[in-house]
């Protein structure tokens, strides 16, 4: 049962990351991020399959509970599918309608992309040390370092000057974030 719960949880977290990434790819018309959404979909599907198997194998779960677990996994999988549909728009060779970007910019959930400067507060700090989520409510959804990407980085990841971070969070935190990334030399 514990393993089952962990998998369901991982599915939930992954589907949320996919949605954040999908909207971010749309905002910056970024095909690399959009492709990552497709990779993560595979992970969600695998998790779903293994959840279904685990439910069926577990004799301690009565039919009512099985039904609920099936339905939960199904809803989460549909959240992930929605992310896929959004990312798909970015991967087409068609210019995005300008209204899409405008409306994303007005969303409650503010997405930004910032480059970390040398010697800045964030330079050399891990995500956990920066207390970005607890102090300013900002979540890093992706980091680009040169040609490498980290999607949904965990809190032990250390930020470095030159990193480009993609975040989401409240609009009025952007000022603090600007201070934390430092100013260009």
């Amino acid at each position: 049962m514990k393993e089952l719960e962990e998998k369901l949880l991982e599915m939930k977290d992954t589907s949320e990351l996919m949605l954040d990434l999908a909207y971010s790819s749309l905002l910056y018309h970024n095909k690399e991020i959009a492709e990552e959404v497709f990779h993560l979909e595979q992970k969600v599907n695998d998790l779903q399959d293994s959840i279904y198997t685990k439910i069926l194998e577990n004799k301690d779960i009565d039919p009512d509970k099985s039904f609920i677990l099936f339905k939960m996994a199904d809803s989460i999988e549909r959240f992930a599918d929605a992310a896929l549909d959004i990312a798909d728009v970015v991967l087409r060779d068609i210019d995005l309608h300008p209204v899409i970007k405008e409306s994303l910019k007005e969303s409650d959930e503010h997405m930004v992309r910032k480059k970390i400067r040398k010697g800045a507060f964030l330079d050399g700090r891990t995500l956990e040390e920066s207390e970005m989520t607890t102090n300013i409510g900002m979540k890093v959804i992706a980091i680009r370092r040169g040609n490498n990407w980290a999607y949904g980085p965990d809190k032990g990841v250390k930020l470095k000057a030159g990193d480009i971070i993609f975040t989401r969070g409240p609009r009025d935190s952007e000022g603090v974030l600007d201070e934390w990334i430092g100013s260009p030399e």
């Binding site: 949880l9 949320e16 009512d64 039904f67 549909r78 959240f79 929605a82 959004i86 068609i94 969070g169």
Partner: protein, 214 residues
């Protein structure tokens, strides 16, 4: 101040929302924001096994259907050329993704109608999530009472996002900066454990807001 809404006002609250003068841009923003809210509300309804929250999910879903219809209509009227149509079809795909999310959220909470005891499995399940859903009671006379969310900058200071508020009479979902917290409000919040732990003493009058800000 703290005037309770009359029956009539409550009814109007639930009356049909007219989106006729809402632009495609505004509709898309609303749909995106609502899709995130509805997923949070659905998880909260499951975690707290709460039918009233499930009811809010149903309401929001039917708003979403209306918005989907209108955005489709307005986009079609706006297409003049093939290029317009191609771009607008991308836009509609994004809108339709938001609508799919609300459908899936509604399906999730429809489980609450089934006569099954959810409590033993689900609260456990979401306890370990990165960001969790909590309830938080605002005590009368605490520093949160009689302040708007905007005045407090609650989310940017603590990372705690209020997704719904239950006052004496009703649920308010998706509160904004102008929403005022009152004593005895029950908040449903989405937060990291640390952020929630930071806010809890203030809501319970053990700390002042100034102390939280440090």
């Amino acid at each position: 101040m703290n005037k309770k809404p009359t029956e009539k006002e409550l009814e109007e609250d639930h009356a049909e929302i007219d989106y006729k003068d809402t632009s495609v841009r505004e509709l898309l923003t609303l749909m995106k924001d609502d899709s995130e809210l509805i997923a949070d509300l659905a998880y909260a309804a499951m975690v707290f096994d709460n039918e009233e929250l499930a009811e809010e999910v149903h309401k929001l879903e039917s708003e979403m259907d209306k918005m989907m219809y209108l955005i489709r209509l307005k986009s079609m009227l706006g297409a003049r050329t093939r290029e317009d149509a191609e771009q607008l079809s991308g836009l509609l795909q994004v809108a339709s993704a938001a609508e799919q999310i609300s459908d899936a959220a509604e399906d999730m909470v429809s489980l609450l109608d089934a006569d099954v005891d959810l409590k033993p499995i689900l609260p456990h399940l979401l306890k370990k999530a990165d960001e969790k859903v909590f309830t938080l009671k605002v005590e009368e006379g605490s520093d949160l009472a009689n302040k708007t969310l905007g005045e407090l900058h609650l989310e940017s200071v603590t990372g705690v996002r209020v997704i719904a508020i239950r006052d004496d009479l009703r649920w308010i979902h998706g509160p904004n900066g102008e929403t005022k917290l009152e004593g005895n409000d029950l908040l449903i919040v989405r937060a990291h454990e640390e952020g929630y732990q930071k806010l809890w003493p203030v809501a319970h009058k053990e700390k002042t807001w100034e102390e939280l800000l440090g």
